[in-house]
């Protein structure tokens, strides 16, 4: 044993074994872990009791980082854990949002279709106040727009909640002003130092104030709220006072310890629509909707009646203009326009004209009895078809009569003479200016006589029995004279006064 070991033996003595054991414990990681585990939990508890803030501060970052990492690593597991907590709140929020949206849509439809709604829209245009705000004001019984939790002594705002879309000035200044008004009223009008200003009314707005010893809850209401809201206001104030008694007592302008207060105040942000306004407006809306529908239906039928009448008049008018058609009755049978009357087979229905008045050919049905029309236009049409007028011959109508005039080839006159005679006998055709053309008569003579004979023949025009005829004069041999008479035998358009030539 060396001198050093002897010296150690003298100093440590019997404790050498314990020191060895301690050394082993320190060097052995597993053993050390077990030792720390034994004291970890009691140590945390002890530190928590000693200095809650210090322990929280120490653990905040590692716990936060650990949580973030764990959630990223196993999002599904954490989602399942949180689901029972989050889902009901999310469902409630969605249901509430949907319900609000439905109310908004219903009211928008009601207000848009009612007389009152239209009046409100005009008022909005006139005053420049948004339509939604005016409509809401008219249909509101009351709406809690703002809740302020105010420190009574300093007038400083501790926390606030506000309804959506409500305008507000600087809340800190407003709450201080509440407090100032409170002091002003109390100093000016009340000798009782415990008296409090609990109600304010300005125009459509009411301010209700619930007072506690250190804080007050001011509630800004548009419209007339029920008294029961006051009880709720005091209940909420009591709840806040109970749950936040320490932060209220220590409040010095910093509201970091009042985290949950808005959640407690939020239920007070109530909105109640006027029952009568709803029912009246709804009734008015409901009443006007059928009226509009009725007006639309009436308008539709009126238009249909007007359109059908117009079509009947149009058909009557244009068929009356059409030659060879006489209508006796025009009427609607379901979707068919029935036309009854007389129709010349040669008459043409003016489908093109009717189509331009939105009258389709398929829409029309003709129940017509055929007849022969003696209307001038029809006669003209018919004569043109029958006679195949040669060049130089014309048909025209004047003063209800048809005129056939001009110089016609003698052969055409001979072929159509029977028909012309018949028509003129009926006084339907005036042929006073119709005559055979010299050229055609001359051609016929040239075909049958030689030059000598032709030199002895003269042609002139003559009116006989109101008919213009070609008169042939001259002297011919007996045979030639017989030929001449034979050529124009029976023709009333040529008059032969030639004589037999004496040798």
């Amino acid at each position: 044993m060396s001198q050093i070991e002897e010296l150690r033996e003298i100093i440590i003595g019997d404790n050498a074994a314990e020191l060895g054991d301690l050394k082993n414990r320190l060097e052995n990681v597993e053993r050390r872990t077990t030792d720390v585990a034994e004291v970890l939990s009691p140590a945390i508890d002890a530190e928590f009791r000693e200095s809650q803030a210090r322990l929280v501060s120490s653990l905040q970052k590692p716990v936060s980082l650990g949580l973030k990492k764990a959630i990223r690593a196993e999002p599904r597991e954490y989602a399942e854990i949180l689901y029972p907590v989050m889902a009901p709140s999310i469902r409630r929020a969605i249901a509430q949002a949907l319900s609000s949206m439905m109310v908004t849509i219903n009211r928008t439809i009601e207000s848009a279709t009612s007389v009152k709604g239209i009046r409100t829209r005009i008022q909005s245009l006139r005053t420049g106040i948004p339509y939604a705000e005016l409509a809401l004001r008219q249909s509101l019984l009351y709406r809690v727009e703002h809740i302020y939790l105010i420190d009574r002594e300093t007038g400083m705002l501790i926390d606030e909640v506000a309804a959506a879309d409500t305008q507000s000035l600087d809340s800190d200044a407003v709450s201080a002003m509440f407090s100032a008004i409170q002091s002003f009223v109390q100093d000016s009008f009340s000798k009782d130092s415990s008296a409090r200003l609990t109600d304010l009314r300005v125009g459509d707005h009411n301010v209700w104030v619930a007072h506690g010893p250190r804080v007050m809850l001011a509630c800004v209401i548009l419209g007339d709220a029920p008294e029961s809201l006051k009880a709720e206001l005091y209940d909420t104030l009591d709840l806040i006072r109970t749950e936040y008694s320490a932060p209220i007592a220590e409040f010095d302008g910093d509201n970091k310890d009042f985290d949950g207060v808005p959640n407690l105040m939020a239920p007070l942000l109530q909105l109640q629509l006027k029952d009568s306004a709803i029912s009246k407006q709804a009734k008015s809306g409901r009443a006007i909707v059928p009226l509009i529908i009725l007006a639309l239906v009436a308008g539709f039928f009126t238009y249909q009646w007007f359109d059908r009448s117009r079509k009947v008049s149009t058909v009557e008018y244009y068929l009356r203009q059409a030659p060879g058609i006489a209508t006796t009755n025009v009427y609607w049978d379901n979707d068919q326009l029935i036309v009854e009357g007389l129709k010349d087979p040669d008459a043409k229905i003016p489908y093109g004209t009717l189509a331009s008045y939105d009258l389709d050919e398929n829409e029309l049905r003709f129940n017509m009895i055929p007849f022969r029309s003696l209307e001038v236009d029809m006669e003209l049409q018919r004569f043109r078809q029958e006679m195949d007028l040669p060049r130089g011959v014309y048909l025209s109508a004047r003063n209800g009569r048809v005129f056939l005039y001009g110089e016609a080839p003698i052969l055409w006159l001979s072929n159509n003479d029977a028909r012309i005679r018949q028509l003129s006998a009926d006084r339907r055709l005036d042929i006073s200016n119709l005559s055979a053309s010299f050229e055609s008569v001359s051609d016929m003579l040239r075909d049958n006589f030689d030059r000598d004979d032709l030199s002895r023949i003269r042609m002139s025009s003559l009116v006989e029995d109101q008919l213009t005829v070609v008169q042939i004069t001259g002297e011919l041999e007996a045979g030639k004279l017989a030929l001449l008479s034979a050529l124009f035998a029976g023709s009333r358009w040529v008059s032969i006064t030639a004589r037999q030539r004496v040798e």
Partner: protein
Amino acid sequence: MSKKKICMVGDFSVGKTSLTQKFVNNVFSEKYLTTIGVKIDTANVGHTKLIVWDVAGRDSLSSINASYLVGAAGVVLVADGSRPHTVDDLNDIWSTVTQRIGDVPAVVALNKADLDDWGVGDDKVTEFRSLGWDVFNTSAKNGQNVPELFERLVEKINA
């Protein structure tokens, strides 16, 4: 953000409201001064939001409405540097303040420093400083020392 109530106090017509207007967000009109005797505005100084109670001035007929002082974290004592008696009156006003809310942080604004007829002697300034007040020669007209006045008060309140 921490919020602190401060009060502007001083004699009538020393420029409290003009001084305040140079520094705050106007919320309400000045008519409240003549109706309920106070006008409230707000201003941000660093991380502190000041709720500034501009209390109607004291005159021969009325005193400061001390109930408006309750809860104030500090006061700005305002006097008109061209009217020495308004400077002297600050002692009385301070007395009213301390009776109601105790010895709170205070700064003194000797206002209208832009005027030629300045009537505040060094001895008065020394006296005020001996009371622990910071004294600023201010001008609501040209803004002289106005931000510094409020910033110093906030420093004293948060100290």
